[in-house]
């Protein structure tokens, strides 16, 4: 595992997300209103909806397919639903965003 640069904070709109393609599937990288960065698998535990396409509110995202609300901090479904999605460690170095992956970055946009 090592820290891999996946982009900069300005690549992601506030209350929005971008995707990172990996051989193990897509990762969704989120930026909250307060500029916190989170990364989780882009795959809702309910029916596999692309979480990166959901509405971001607080430190949570609502899945665009069936409105499950997923915590960005824990990856767990909030409210009455049960399920969870893998979280990926991220950190910031200035504007750069790094993710803890077993991979190497090939190309940023």
């Amino acid at each position: 595992m090592n820290w891999v640069e996946i982009g900069t904070i300005n690549d992601i709109p506030r209350r929005g997300a971008r995707c990172v393609n990996t051989p193990d599937g897509k990762i969704a990288v989120f930026r909250t209103m307060e500029d916190q960065i989170f990364a989780i698998d882009d795959h809702c535990p309910h029916k596999g909806g692309p979480l990166s396409q959901g509405i971001v509110h607080g430190a949570a995202v609502t899945c665009p397919l069936h409105n499950w609300v997923i915590s960005l901090e824990t990856g767990k479904a909030l409210g009455a639903d049960e399920g969870s999605v893998k979280t990926i460690a991220v950190k910031r170095d200035g504007d750069r965003i790094l993710a803890l992956l077993e991979l190497a970055a090939v190309a940023a946009e």
Partner: protein
């Protein structure tokens, strides 16, 4: 590999409320004991059959009565065969086989085939137009028949028949109820209450004929009427048989299980084959079959305990109160109402108030209760019966109810507060008071929905909702306010209308300003309130507010429709449904170039391309744009299509240029956002080939001008339009339609379709403002035109030129680590 015990296979035949409840219990008690397979003859998930009457009357939508959505089956790993009817069971080989040829083996089998409606054995009972009242298909068939607003005859004056009659009446049909006995609901009510009920039903404009024996259903190719034994002929276009149900024990009987009226089971719900269980309306336990939900849920509890290994679980018979779910008629009945020398009764009548109460006593104990008109003491009387309380001390005041006992105050709340903790509140689910108050304080519940989610109290037939709300008030004190408006979402206590009003009054022009000034409880809102606020702001301040794309659902953010696999579909505008060879060729080229897997003609007269990868969207739009296409906004809360017929251009019946008017409306009105989607149509003559009378807004052309319709629906709800009014010229037609849409834009709640908005504000008020008040209409029209200055921009060409580029590209791609590194 999983070690130790192998899971057993449980196969369930039937997917109604009883097996649904049984599985809920089973997954709680023994989550890993069984692999479950369900065969459902109905092509859908488990829903609350008791609530079909509110669906028929239009008070609820089908979605609101679903108990287990598809997600529940997936979550529990259940294989659900929808629309598979089991036609064979092999008890020796332990297999079941469906009509589609699917065979499954089982270790344990649960038969829950329910009941079948009793169809009178009279000539003509199989004519088209003769329906039963049992499942959603029956309700849909009735709704379809009700659209013609013709005459219906309901055979059967029991619970189901009266609910069906009330539902059909509220859908605009002329309804007659035939009942063979002298008074309605004679099994649950005494004649006096039956008479009051008959009067109340007739006051709703439903004709009631008692002692009416059906001899024949008459008609040539479809129902035309009903012939009674006394020679009376009633004409009818729809006949609903609601004369009772019979346990559906056919299959069990065929395969050799012991059956009587129903499938015979012991107290543990086990049939004559020790690996086969049966519950629900098809099961006969202790010589009795059951039709009300409470004992069926009791069966569910017992069978789940048995399946989980508790051999001691036994079914216990209990009396269940009857309640009629017809809005405005309050009726409660339970126990033994017969007369006899060893019995006494206490009766209270108040004709002016329409109240009738009767208690049947034996040995100083209540054995039967009928309440009509005022039923709030039902739970208390029922409780006294169940506990066999000696009532001799309070006999003089007993009939006045609990609040008159022991000098306690007349506050109805006090009566509920005084109920013991084990008093039953929700009869359907067998939930007592202590369990509800315990959940409210123990789990911090604050709303009716919370209580329903956690305890199921009032979640089935809903008739105990008032009691549950009173318990909420008692437990929570002043912090519970049931009469308050429903808040927009958990982020605020304000309702949609208050928020809209305050946005205007306080001149709030951004989402953060709204959240600050209106004291939002969350910092950033949620996926419910943010899209709503974004719409309200853009509708109220079209020139000043900057659309917040992060507060839009993905479809509106990327201007395409997300599909279940995360790909998108794209629908270009095809004005009025008219196209040509050049446009079709351009679409064909795009489909080939981007290898688009599916192309479909939509219901709105245009073409849908499905399965496009998100990254390809801008390039697809670029090619479509070169051919002159713009976004069809098939994803938007805004104008979707304007369907047309060919009108005077081609049709020998056409009275006006309906195609031209449709195109003109679409070109004038596309762009501005609306509270929910808006679909329109223009038909060139009253034959109505463009189906304008089920649209949000429709126009029917006639020789003398244009008849404007609105508030139709043909989705979850089916509803014909209302007539707004008649205008003479095309220009007037356009102005009126635009003004109507703007009025809706200014008043509608987010996601509220036109027909719901119209119902809320009143058809007459809308007609007055649009048809009669010229100044108002001009004002609406001009405000719409102003909004269009900012909204009528093709979102596809914007994105082709680079807007929101980040939406369509991944931020990075990473691969496995290179060896060299």
């Amino acid at each position: 590999m999983e070690a130790a015990t192998k899971k057993q296979k449980l196969v369930v035949i039937g997917n109604g409320m009883a097996p649904g409840r049984a599985l809920e219990h089973l997954f709680e008690m023994a989550p890993d004991a069984y692999d479950v397979t369900i065969f459902n003859a109905e092509p859908r998930v488990n829903y609350d059959r008791i609530m079909l009457s509110p669906v028929l009357s239009g008070e609820k939508a089908f979605e609101e009565i679903i108990i287990h959505g598809d997600g529940w089956y997936i979550k529990h790993g259940i294989t659900l065969y929808k629309g598979h009817k089991i036609v064979g069971i092999d008890l020796t080989a332990k297999t079941v086989t469906s009509d589609a040829g699917t065979t499954e083996t089982y270790d344990k089998l649960l038969i829950a085939t329910g009941s079948v409606p009793f169809v009178l054995p009279v000539p003509g009972n199989n004519l088209p137009g003769v329906l039963t009242y049992r499942d959603l298909d029956d309700v849909n068939a009735m709704l379809l028949a009700a659209q013609s607003r013709a005459r219906a005859v309901v055979i059967g004056g029991g619970l189901l028949g009266l609910e069906a009659a009330a539902g059909l009446k509220s859908r605009g049909m002329d309804v007659t109820v035939l009942h063979i006995m002298p008074t309605l609901m004679e099994r649950q009510l005494d004649p006096a209450a039956g008479y009051l009920l008959e009067q109340a039903v007739e006051q709703r404009g439903i004709r009631v004929m008692t002692k009416a024996s059906t001899k024949e259903i008459i008609g040539q190719t479809k129902v035309e009427g009903v012939l009674l034994a006394d020679g009376t002929i009633l004409s009818a276009d729809l006949v609903v048989m609601a004369a009772g149900i019979r346990p559906n024990a056919m299959l069990a009987k065929e395969v050799g299980l012991e059956t009587n009226r129903g499938i015979v089971v012991d107290g543990g719900m086990r049939t004559s084959d020790s690996d086969v269980f049966s519950i629900g309306e098809c099961a006969e336990v202790g010589g009795q079959c059951y039709g009300l939900v409470a004992p069926l849920y009791e069966m569910a509890r017992v069978v789940s305990a048995q399946l989980a290994g508790d051999a001691d679980a036994k079914f216990v018979h209990s009396e269940t109160p009857t309640k009629l779910k017809v809005t405005g008629i309050n009726l409660f009945s339970v126990g033994d109402l017969g007369e006899g020398d060893d019995r006494q009764e206490i009766v209270l009548r108040d004709a002016a108030a329409g109240v009738y109460k009767r208690l049947v006593l034996k040995d100083d104990r209540i054995i039967g209760t009928v309440l009509y008109g005022e039923t709030s003491d039902g739970a208390w009387f029922h409780d006294l019966t169940k506990k066999r309380t000696d009532i001799s001390e309070m006999r003089d005041t007993l009939i006045f109810g609990q609040s008159y006992q022991g000098g306690s105050p007349l506050d109805p709340m006090a009566a509920v507060a005084a109920l013991p903790d084990d008093a039953e509140i929700c009869g359907c689910n067998g939930i007592c008071k202590g369990k509800i108050t315990g959940a409210i304080s123990g789990k911090g519940l604050t709303s009716l929905d919370d209580v329903r989610a956690h305890t199921k109290a009032s979640a089935s037939c809903g008739s105990c909702t008032g009691l549950v709300e009173q318990l909420l008030s008692i437990t929570l004190g002043d912090s519970y306010n049931p009469s308050a408006v429903t808040p927009m979402c958990g982020c605020t206590d304000l309702g949609h209308d208050d928020v809209r009003r305050l946005i205007k009054a306080k001149k709030l022009k951004s989402i953060p300003a709204v959240m600050q000034e209106l004291e939002w409880k969350t910092s950033c809102g949620c996926a419910k309130c943010r899209p709503a606020l974004n719409y309200y702001l853009i509708a109220d301040w079209p020139d000043e507010y900057a659309d917040d794309y992060q507060s839009r659902f993905i479809n509106e953010r990327v201007h395409a429709n997300i599909q279940k696999d995360g790909t998108y579909s794209v629908v270009p505008r095809m004005w009025g449904g008219v196209t040509n060879s050049r446009e079709l060729r351009a679409i064909a080229d795009v489909v080939d170039k981007f290898e688009i897997p599916a192309v479909k003609v939509t219901g709105g007269q245009r073409i849908d391309m499905l399965g496009i990868k998100k990254e390809d969207l801008p390039a697809v739009w670029a090619d479509l744009g070169k051919a002159g296409f713009i976004s069809g906004q098939a994803y938007a809360k805004g104008l979707r299509t304007v369907k047309t017929c060919v009108g005077t251009d081609w049709c020998r019946f056409g009275t006006q240029d309906s195609t031209g008017l449709g195109i003109r409306i679409e070109k004038f009105m596309w762009g501005s956002w609306t509270p929910a989607k808006v679909k329109m149509a223009v038909s060139g003559c009253p034959r109505n080939c463009a189906e304008a009378t089920c649209k949000d807004v429709g126009i029917i052309c006639v020789d003398s001008g244009y008849e404007i319709h609105f508030a139709g629906a043909a989705g979850l709800d089916i509803k014909g339009t209302e007539v707004l009014g008649m205008v003479r010229t095309e220009d007037e037609a356009l102005e009126h339609v635009v003004a109507l849409t703007q009025m809706y834009r200014e008043q509608g709640r987010y996601l509220e379709r036109i027909y719901k908005w119209a119902k809320r504000v009143g058809l007459d008020e809308i007609r007055r403002q649009i048809m009669q008040d010229d100044a108002k209409r001009r004002g609406y029209f001009e405000r719409f035109v102003f909004s269009q200055k900012f909204a009528q921009v093709d979102p596809w060409s914007e994105r082709v030129s680079g807007v929101d580029k980040h939406e369509f590209q991944p931020m990075a791609s990473v691969s496995y680590q290179q060896a060299a590194e």
